[in-house]
């Protein structure tokens, strides 16, 4: 049942991503609200099914972008693995972890995108990408990470036992 909630949620996020968040940019960098939701969800201590949500998120994300599916799914999977390892160890500072994971996730996602595009024959200038896309995107994602984390935390509270959360 909890997994099923992810379907309308990520459908809504995909719509927001393509209509609202893709138009909000700093230089040429944009935020990835689906990725932020997956990171925030995987950092929730009591969440037991983050893989399903990451899968649904990757599915919707790959539907709305022209980037190859593997380049969408792979960063989500790696980010999720890192988040799951981290949350067992440093779960006392979730907001800091959210910000740190957002930075790591954005960089990882962009590196994998660049590799995927290069394999497809499109070589992008690294200096331009770094200054005009990756850094602004990271900044935007960090700005959004805190509100997203709070929303996801409340959602997790609703979906899991209330008493497990402070």
């Amino acid at each position: 049942m909890r997994i099923l909630i992810g379907i309308p949620l990520f459908a809504l996020l995909a719509m927001l991503q393509t209509t609202v968040f893709s138009r909000i940019s700093i230089i040429h960098g944009t935020s990835d609200i689906i990725m932020l939701f997956i990171v925030a969800w995987s950092l929730q201590e009591k969440v037991t099914d983050p893989w399903w949500w990451a899968g649904i998120g990757a599915l919707f994300s790959s539907m709305i972008t022209a980037i190859p599916v593997i380049a969408v799914a792979l960063p989500y999977a790696i980010i999720l693995m890192i988040a799951l390892i981290i949350r067992r160890r440093i779960w006392q500072t979730p907001i800091l972890m959210m910000i740190a994971m957002t930075i790591v996730a954005t960089l990882l996602q962009h590196i994998i995108c660049l590799i995927a595009l290069a394999i497809g024959g499109t070589f992008l200038p690294i200096d331009v990408v770094q200054s005009q896309i990756t850094l602004p995107s990271t900044l935007l994602n960090v700005f959004l990470s805190l509100p997203v984390y709070l929303v996801v935390r409340d959602l997790a509270k609703l979906m899991y036992q209330q008493e497990d959360y402070p």
């Binding site: 980037i67 024959g121 499109t122 992008l124 990408v129």
Partner: protein, 281 residues
């Protein structure tokens, strides 16, 4: 005797007075006198009435305020509703203008068959320049079909579903268009970039490129129909130690504000790849 005479005269005097008054009234002289006599009473009456009105209004104000507030709320609701209608109508007007412009463009080129579509999404990946439109294979859209607006070239269909299609813009980093300079009459290659800028390359050093020159599609390569406007030259980079000069192109279409497009459905892109020679081992 005197007393009885006085009593007899009294009715006569009264009658004379009454007749006199009637005569004065009929002749119009009484009005002035009457007016002068009643003027103080009218003033007093006016004063009393004004005070009464003030007191009445003072006593009935709370009730009026309540009704006014209710009326105000009702009017505010109506204003909000009308403002929404105005915004909707303005939006419809804008959409209609766009559609009329597209229709004019389509009528001007009767050799092409167009399918009009609205832009419904933008690819969220910052490395890519793609849009999604609300028409798909159900309306005859196929991979590779060129997409234009009344202003110029937009791109081509990259992927299609039953009722939506993804369009690769000419500004995308992996997009190349065979272009032609209108005045110079030479062919060149137009490439997109990760920042959405368009660069014209492979222009011979001997060609006199000029700022403002119009760039059109050449039709070579079979991906786009020829003579579709792409944009105009804004900057030229000519270095002596390079084989070719390059130029930056300002696209005719503003891709950030694009709302509707036309897909040319009777243009079949040609796939040259089987004819390209491959090196033998």
């Amino acid at each position: 005797m005197n007393r009885s005479n006085t009593r007899n005269i009294q009715p006569i005097i009264i009658g004379i007075v009454v007749i006199g008054v009637i005569a004065l009234a009929l002749s119009g002289y009484l009005g002035t006198l009457f007016g002068a006599a009643t003027s103080p009473f009218v003033d007093i009456q006016s004063w009393f009435f004004a005070r009464y009105q003030i007191i009445y209004e003072f006593l009935t104000v709370p009730r009026d305020v309540a009704s006014l507030r209710s009326r105000n709320a009702q009017l505010e609701e109506e204003v909000a509703s009308l403002q929404t209608q105005v915004i909707d109508l303005q939006q419809q007007l804008t959409d209609t203008d766009v559609l009329y412009a597209l229709l004019d463009f389509a009528r001007a080129r009767p050799e092409n068959v167009y399918v009009a579509a609205s832009v419904i999404a933008i690819d969220p990946n910052p490395f890519l320049q793609y849009i999604i439109i609300d028409r798909g294979s159900d309306e005859g859209l196929r991979h590779g079909m060129p997409v234009v607006t009344q202003l110029g070239l937009v791109g081509r269909v990259d992927a299609v579903t039953a009722n939506a299609a993804r369009i690769q813009l000419i500004t995308d980093a992996s997009s190349t268009v065979n272009a032609r300079l209108k005045n110079a009459g030479v062919d060149a290659i137009l490439s997109g970039s990760v920042t959405g800028d368009l660069e014209l390359s492979m222009v011979d050093q001997d060609i006199g490129l000029e700022i403002g020159e119009i760039v059109l599609t050449s039709g070579l390569g079979g991906n786009y129909p020829q003579d579709v406007v792409i944009g105009q030259v804004v900057t030229i980079r000519k270095l002596e130690n390079e084989l070719f000069q390059t130029a930056t192109i300002q696209p005719a279409v503003d891709f950030t504000k694009i709302k509707a497009v036309l897909v040319i459905t009777n243009f079949n892109p040609v796939d040259f790849s089987p004819l390209v020679p491959t090196p033998r081992p």
